[in-house]
Amino acid sequence: MMDLLDLILQPWIFIPLIFPGLTTAFLVLLGIIWAERKIAAKVQMRYGPLYVLKPLGGAIQMIADLLRYLFAEPIIPKDVDKLTFIFAPLILFGLSYLPTIVLPAGPGFTAISSEMSLLILLGLLTLSPVFTMILAWGSNNKFSLIGGLREGYLVTTYEIPLFLSALSMAVLYGTLDITAMVEAQKNVWGIFLNPLAAIVFLVLILISTSKFPFEIAEAESEIVMGPFTEYSGIFYGLVMGASYLKLYVLSLLYALIFLGGWYPLPSFLQNPPFLAGIMVFVKGLVIMFIAIFMRAIYPRYRIDQAIQIGWHKLVPLAILSIFLSLLVVYLGGV
C-alpha cells in the first residue's frame, strides 16, 4: 500500500495523473463551467444553475451534465468523414491537457525536467487547433466549416504574439526552463517587471481559448456552435471541454511565469511541494476566473476586428515587451 502511494507521489506519475494533469484538470473542468454559468448569471441578475443540489447553489450541476453527455446518443451524421469525426475530438481533448506534463507543481517537482520546458509547452499548445480545423472539415457542415476557418484565422492571429510575449519573459529571466523562471521571481514577480507582456499574454489567453470577447469560432448566435455543430453526446462534451482545458493550462503557465509560481511561499514550506502546488493552483484559478468573468461583460468582436487587434496591436506590443525585457536586463536584471 505504501509502495503504491510512493509510486503515485513520484513526480513522473503524479504530474500527468493528479496535479496538474488528468485528475485536477477534470475537476477544474467540472468546476469552471459551473462557475462560468454562475458568474454570468450573477452579473445578469439571475441565479444560474440552482436546483441540482440547491443548498450549495447547484454545485453538482456539471456532474449532472456530464452524466447526460455520457448517456446521450452520440449521433454520427451520414455524410461526415467518420474517421476524423470520431478521432479528432479524442485527439483534440488529449492534446489540450498534454502540455500539463511539463508544468512544475513545485520546486524541483517536474515530470520532464528540461532546459527547454517553456518551448516544449508552447510547441504542444500549437497542436490542438489543427484538430479543431480537421474536425470542422470532417463534419461536412457549412457552420462547422465557417467556424473552422475562423479558428484558423485566429490561430494565425494569436500564436505569434503569444510566443513573443512568453519568450520575452524567457529573455528577462535568461532561461527557458519554467522551474528556473519561477526561481528567478523570488524577489519580484514577472508581472511587475514586464507588465506589457503580462497584459498581452492575458488578452491572448482569451483569444486562444475562445473566451469572450473573442468567442468568434463558436459564436452561438451566428453559426450555431462553430466547428462543433454536428457533435452530440460525449463527443460534444470532449470538444467543448478542450478549450477549457487549454484555458487551464495557459492559466497555470501564466501563474508560473508572471505571478511568481510558488512564491512568496517561504523556502522551508516548499519541500514537500504540496503547498507550492496549491499556491500555483490558486493563482491559476484567479486567472481562469478573470477569463470566464469576461463572458458577463463583453459582446463578441467580429473576426476582422479580432485579427486587426491581433496584428495591429498585440504583435507590436509583444515585440515592445521583448525590448522592455532587454531594457530590464540592461538595467540590472532579476
Binding site: I39, K42, V43, M45, Y47, F293, A296, I297, Y298
Partner: protein, 162 residues
C-alpha cells in the same frame, strides 16, 4: 483617444464586478413564489353555463377562432333544435378578452390562472361541459408564497410578500 478606450474597458469591467458583488437579483423563484396578480389580469377563461343564453357572440368576435359553438354531446330526447354552447381551444386562444367584453350576460370571465400544462394537444380543447367546470388548477408541490412585484429605482424589481 487610445487611453480613453482603455478607461472604457476598465469601466465596463468595473461595472461587471459591481454587479458580481452587489445583490440585485430579479429572479422570481417561481414554483415557491407566485406573483399576486392584479385585478383585470387576463388569464384562462371561466364559463358560467347557467347564465349563458347561447347567443354565439363570443364565437363570432373571437379573432383566433378559439371559441366555437358545440352541440351537446347527448341531445335530450324530443329536442329538435338543441342549443349550441361555447367551447374553447387553448391552443388557439390569444387571451385578448374580446369574448369576456362582448358577453351580454357576463357568463365569460377571466380567471387569474395562467400556469397550467397539458400532455396532449386534445386536452387543451374544452367542450362546453368541461369549459363550465372552470380552468384546471395549477399543481404545486407545496403552497407557494404570494408576492407582489414592486418597481425599484435601485434594484429594478423587488418582491414583497402579500
Amino acid at each position: 483617444m487610445a487611453v480613453e478606450r482603455v478607461f472604457d474597458h476598465l469601466r465596463a469591467i468595473a461595472t461587471g464586478a459591481k454587479y458580481l458583488f452587489l445583490k440585485p437579483r430579479l429572479t422570481l423563484m417561481y414554483p415557491d413564489e407566485v406573483e399576486d396578480l392584479p385585478r383585470g389580469y387576463r388569464g384562462m377563461i371561466t364559463y358560467n353555463h347557467e347564465t349563458c343564453i347561447s347567443c354565439s357572440l363570443c364565437a363570432m368576435v373571437c379573432p383566433a377562432d378559439a371559441i366555437k359553438m358545440y352541440l351537446p354531446k347527448e341531445v335530450p330526447e324530443g329536442e329538435k333544435r338543441p342549443k349550441r354552447y361555447p367551447g374553447i381551444n387553448y391552443t388557439r386562444c390569444i387571451f385578448c378578452g374580446f369574448c369576456v367584453s362582448i358577453c351580454p350576460t357576463f357568463s365569460l370571465q377571466h380567471s387569474t390562472i395562467h400556469d397550467v400544462s397539458f400532455y396532449t394537444f386534445e386536452e387543451q380543447i374544452f367542450r362546453p361541459e368541461e369549459f363550465a367546470k372552470g380552468p384546471p388548477k395549477p399543481q404545486y408541490d407545496k403552497e407557494p408564497v404570494k408576492v407582489r412585484v414592486i418597481p425599484d429605482e435601485e434594484r429594478g424589481l423587488r418582491y414583497e410578500r402579500v
